[in-house]
């Protein structure tokens, strides 16, 4: 009896956190501005729903969802992290929709005069900032790119890993690394860095951002329309404005 009262208390606590009318979306750090803007836009036409975004490295978000965080939608920066949740039975395979694509760039401090033009040049740096190549999508992409060029072994010792891609960007902004590998969209939001070069599409792994409705979504009823809104034309405009490439729905649903 005592235990039951206890668990009721905890359950009601959780219920208090996930309020009715609130849709929680866990989104990759690189989506911070875009999702915030789309959320605001959506709320303007759906005043009954409050969109609460949570931003972090996709891997960290996936771990939170696995641990039972009350999340309705998950917007990952890579397919691998999403597949992990599908495998764990937290997301239905058919609920996953690839929505966006992005590209990698190498950024340096705005006032930097380092001559960096290619992956080979990165090996000459003192310190290169990337997202954690062990799990954070941006870091995994960066590692895959460098490994494909046969440079990972050489560059790995000079890398400093950040918890997410914005962390990697911040290290260069603060002047504590010579360069960082981030998404094109991250480079665009910072006044303190400039793009040294774009990672050629031919060398880069393909970058896909899938979004999905979680199986255990506390507010699936209200999350669903927002999930569809994210795939709609209004959202696409915002994504494009922020530098993302929108994957046309026709190419993903044959």
């Amino acid at each position: 009896m005592k235990i039951r009262a206890h668990s009721w208390f905890i359950l009601s606590l959780f219920a208090a956190f996930a309020k009715a009318g609130e849709v929680r979306i866990a989104a990759a750090a690189s989506l911070s501005e875009a999702i915030t803007e789309i959320g605001t836009t959506y709320q303007a036409s759906h005043p009954e729903t409050k969109i609460t975004p949570v931003f972090a490295g996709s891997n960290a978000l996936a771990r939170q969802i696995e641990s039972g965080a009350p999340i309705d939608l998950f917007f990952s920066a890579d397919e691998k992290t999403m597949e992990g949740l599908v495998k764990n039975g937290l997301i239905a395979k058919e609920a996953v929709v690839p929505v966006l694509s992005n590209a990698l760039v190498v950024v340096v401090s705005r006032d930097s005069s380092l001559p960096i033009r290619s992956a080979e040049d990165l090996a000459k740096l003192q310190r290169l900032s990337i997202a954690d190549p062990a799990a954070v999508p941006a870091g995994v992409y960066a590692k895959t790119w460098l490994a494909g060029r046969g440079l990972w072994e050489k560059i790995q010792p000079i890398t400093v890993a950040a918890e997410n891609v914005r962390g990697a960007l911040a290290v260069v902004e603060a002047g504590n690394a010579d360069a960082a590998i981030v998404y094109r969209t991250d480079a665009a939001i910072s006044q303190k860095v400039k793009i040294a070069f774009d990672v050629p599409a031919a060398e880069s792994p393909s970058i896909v951002y899938p979004v999905a409705l979680c199986k255990e979504a506390p507010n699936a009823a209200e999350a669903k329309p927002f999930f569809e809104f994210l795939q709609g034309e209004k959202a696409a405009d915002i994504f494009r404005k922020r530098g993302f490439t929108v994957i046309p729905p026709a190419t993903v649903k044959p």
């Binding site: 003192q126 954690d132 400093v160 950040a162 504590n176 690394a177």
Partner: protein
């Protein structure tokens, strides 16, 4: 447990030891001054010294990062004058651990000094010993148990430090990663079994440290 894990544990133990080692002489001086002397600004220094104990460690880390970063006032100077890099190197880890464990060290040392009966120090002085001699031959030996307990407590605190370290050390496996950072990172990368293993190791070390510290506190004969 892999060789990398062993190295990680060794690295954590040695950076914590290093941190206590570098802060110990300063700690002794400050603790002595706080326990036995009256001077202007003492209250302010006491408050400042307690800050890292109660401030969010991440905030302390932020301050250290800004100060010692390549563009920070201290870090920039070190970089230009000596070509020294602090941030994202093992030096940064020692720095963070030293700053975070310093208040605990000073508190313990101060208590150790305060517990010495003043009469004994005064007696030595009236018998013609200089203040220096009184300190080294009366106060220090009498306070040894408290000092040992304080060192171990500060060491244990340094072993567990996360917030300030994560700011200044970066997540560089094999270079700046300490046990708490590795636990966090293992969890984030989905390696739960390693996270548990390292958490267990940390708990074991902490248990030993606290037990030894308590043992000194109770005053065993051999020390």
């Amino acid at each position: 447990m892999t060789p990398a894990d062993g190295q990680l544990i060794l690295f954590t133990l040695s950076t914590a030891a290093m941190a206590v080692l570098v802060s110990f002489p300063v700690g002794i001086a400050v603790a002595w001054a706080l326990a036995r002397k009256r001077w202007p600004g003492k209250a302010l220094v006491e408050t400042l010294l307690t800050l890292p104990l109660v401030m969010p460690p991440v905030a302390t880390g932020l301050i250290l990062l800004k100060l010692f970063g390549r563009r920070g006032p201290v870090g920039g100077w070190l970089h230009q004058t000596f070509g020294l890099e602090v941030i994202f190197t093992p030096k940064a880890v020692v720095l963070a651990l030293a700053v975070m464990s310093f208040p605990l060290l000073v508190r313990s040392l101060r208590t150790a000094f305060e517990e010495i009966p003043r009469d004994l120090e005064e007696a030595a002085a009236t018998l013609g010993k200089s203040p220096r001699q009184v300190f080294f031959r009366v106060s220090l030996p009498l306070a040894r148990r408290g000092i040992a307990a304080g060192i171990i407590l500060a060491f244990a605190r340094a072993l567990g430090e996360f917030g300030a370290t994560v700011m200044v050390a970066g997540l560089i496996p094999g270079v700046t990663e300490t046990l708490p950072l590795a636990i966090y990172r293992s969890f984030q990368t989905g390696d739960d079994s390693r996270a548990w293993l390292l958490a267990g190791v940390s708990a074991g070390i902490a248990f030993l440290a606290v037990a030894i510290s308590g043992w000194f506190g109770r005053g065993k004969r051999w020390l």
